[in-house]
Amino acid sequence: MATAVKETGDTGIMANKEARQQWLAEQTAKSKEKQVSFINSISSKLGRARPTAAPAHPFRGAPDFWREFEWPIDERAEKFMENFRAVGGHSLRLGSMEEAKQFIVDKAAEMSAKYIIRQNQPELAEMDLEFALSEAKVSVWNSDPEEQWKARAAEADFGVVVVDHAAAYTGSLTVLSSKDKGRSVSLLPTVLMAIIPIERLRTRLGEVLVEFDRAGREQLPAGIHFISGPSRSADIENDLTIGVHGPGVVYAIIVG
């Protein structure tokens, strides 16, 4: 009986899925057809034929004077921390990953963190927070295909990530999504602990952005997220509120 129900259920889902795929295929066909008239109508309003080659773009990117601007590494770290703190974030510079680990362990104890989720990154595996924080439940993103990972991130007190890039001038972290790096880990927990290996810290936002042009479409992850401080809003009488939807407490730890 139970088996029969299950089979019917599966068949229903399969049929649904097929109908869905068919609908999507129809939509794609329709969209491709419409694309021609939509784009041609733009050309005709612009009063010329549709260009076949890329137009010369002489003003691409930032002005030239800006591209030469770069702070030496120590100043870069100082400016990053200054900017990050100015928007309500916490930031510090530590000498080693070992110190960073101790800092996170101490904070977890101080703030009574019970649930911690971390990205599945080698630097974090080496830290072995699972062992150091035996009092808390430490989950490793996407380490078990059966787990509800979004729910694990949503319940977490701490999310721990190693960032992919950082930019000092705007005080921004950049995190990229992958199988081992969930978008939810830097978003859903109450506190975000972000480690910045100093060699990933640049001066300008543009130094990070241009990497994505260089990599090209096929190499880009689904999610690229720049994070510049704790979640905030001033929607009620201009009164600044921290932690509206995203993490309200963010630590940016520069290592090195």
Partner: protein
């Protein structure tokens, strides 16, 4: 947000009458716009070379729009290659139809939305409700005005017109318990409530600040994290995108990221800036399974090839022109009666609708002082467009006859500065007869057409030209007048923020929109 409440409340003049009578609105709008404007000016000055950045931003936008057929097509091809389902909508009705079809396909019961001006334009929430899909605005300010059943009154701070007591009342009704009028408590309630909504919603819906042609990525700027939520948690993502949102590359995004947050809220960068390139990859454990981008025209392409209005498509929706505009600061957003308010709304609304006749009176809701142009990070000559609009209205025979005569007279007088001087002298004498409370209200003589719409300030003992530096000062630095109680409360907030550890100096507008 329901769009239906926002239109057809008579003319701008009548709506402005309503707005001007609402004391809190007027003061709150003034306070907020001044805060945003000061923040913007400081951020621009701190950054330096602001005019060179503006010029660069303008050039990138001009270039992209001049080759929109090429870049939009490139974006579409790349986004499709990323696995995005692309749809084209020439009209608002088509965009709604596509959105509803997707909602039906995925059997959606709830849609969580992050701020999107395009969806306001389409009145999409109402349409979703009509097929029993609950649409929830998740941006704090948008959530508040959705509960109130109102439309946003400012592009960046949508609930600018509500005070904390009104907000506490709305949220208490929503919570089923009394919530204190305390910002932290109110925001805390919304955070908890919306957390559940994010996790159970079937569709996440976003706007789009920029779309990168070369990689097929869409970019969102925001402060709260709700746009990230709606594009990460639900299984299906729908993005509504104006067809002109394109920029060529991530390199170009640096320029936009330099101009947009500084111009909107005075921030160096919004808390979150996300570049999303398609649905989740096969191996990813979060992100949507399915992603749709609906590319919306809805009147935008009417500006293409129009030498006077094509630059409207360069707009990056920062709201700086609202904050700079002396008229907006007096009457607030709702008086404009369209989705977009302020100087940009005064031009964009009739331009998108291509029925200047119906919306003609908002072109008059401007003093043509040019503060909007100076504030614009991509240098759109809005004040000139307002004049073109008035001219077209007159050409279409819809103009006020008296104002037409007034404008001709104005042109004749302005061509000759001696005559201008002479007219001023006559005016100074003549006005003695009609001045009351420092304003001219009578509807007689040469000012009749003009005064039917506004109260003309009496001619000063010094001439306009002599007084220009002072007036400029006022326009640039704000008119000083506010209820002492409101002022002291708001000032206390600012002081607290400056001394307190949790705020820092940044202005925390919530996100931008798309």
């Amino acid at each position: 947000m329901s769009g239906a409440t926002q239109t057809n409340l008579g003319t701008v003049k009548e709506r402005a009458g309503l707005a001007l009578n609402n004391d809190f609105l007027r003061k709150a709008v003034k306070f907020t716009t001044e805060r945003l404007r000061t923040g913007k000016e400081k951020a621009a000055a701190d950054h330096g070379n602001w005019d060179e950045w503006r010029e660069r931003g303008r050039q990138i936008r001009l270039h992209t729009i001049a080759h929109l057929d090429y870049y939009l097509n490139l974006f579409v091809e790349n986004a499709r290659a990323n696995g995005v389902h692309i749809h084209f909508a020439e009209t608002a009705a088509e965009a709604v139809e596509i959105s509803l079809a997707i909602a039906k396909q995925v059997e959606a019961r709830t849609v969580v939305k992050s701020k999107s001006m395009v969806t306001e334009e389409l009145h999409l929430n109402h349409a979703l409700e009509s097929i029993d899909v609950e649409a929830i605005e998740t941006d704090l300010g948008e959530y508040i005005i959705q509960l109130a059943g109102e439309a946003p009154s400012h592009i960046i701070i949508p609930a600018i017109h509500k005070n904390r007591y009104q907000i506490a009342e709305l949220l208490s009704a929503d919570a089923g318990e009394t919530l204190a009028p305390d910002t932290q408590i109110l925001a805390g309630f919304v955070r908890r409530k919306l957390r559940e909504k994010f996790l159970e919603a079937d569709i996440g819906m976003t706007g789009c600040n920029f779309a990168i042609a070369e990689t097929g990525s869409m970019v969102l700027f925001e402060n709260e994290g709700n746009a990230r939520m709606v594009s990460t948690v639900p299984k299906t993502q729908i993005t509504l995108m104006g067809m002109e949102r394109i920029i060529p590359s991530f390199e170009d995004l640096e320029v936009m990221a330099t101009l947009l947050p500084r111009s909107a809220t005075g921030q160096k960068l919004t808390v979150y800036m996300s570049g999303i390139s398609g649905p989740r990859r096969e191996v990813d454990a979060d992100g949507p399974d399915e992603m749709h981008i609906i590319i919306v025209d809805n009147g935008r392409s009417l500006q293409l090839g129009d030498p006077e209005f094509q630059e409207l498509l360069n707009c990056i929706r920062c709201g700086a022109c609202l904050n700079a505009c002396p008229v907006y600061r007096h009457i607030g957003g709702h008086a404009y009666g369209g989705t977009y308010s302020g100087p940009i709304g005064a031009v964009l609304t009739p331009a998108l609708k291509k029925n200047i006749a119906e919306w003609d009176d908002i072109a008059n809701a401007s003093s043509l002082c040019g503060a909007c142009y100076e504030a614009c990070p991509v240098k759109i000559p809005l004040h000139e467009m307002l004049v073109y609009l008035r001219r077209r209205k007159l050409e279409a025979g819809r103009g006020d006859k008296l104002e037409a005569i007034g404008m001709k007279g104005f042109a004749a007088v302005m061509k000759n500065s001696k005559r201008f001087g002479a007219v001023l002298k006559i005016g100074k004498l003549g006005q003695k007869l009609v001045v009351r409370d420092g304003g001219i209200r009578s509807k007689i003589g040469p000012l009749k057409g003009w005064n039917s719409y506004r109260v003309t300030p009496s001619l000063p003992s010094e001439s306009f030209r002599e007084k220009w530096p002072t007036m400029e000062q006022e326009i640039r630095h704000g008119l000083q007048e506010m209820d002492p109680a409101v002022k002291s409360r708001m000032e206390a907030i600012v002081r607290e923020r400056q001394s307190g550890g949790n705020g820092g100096k940044g202005n925390g507008g919530h996100g931008h929109h798309g």
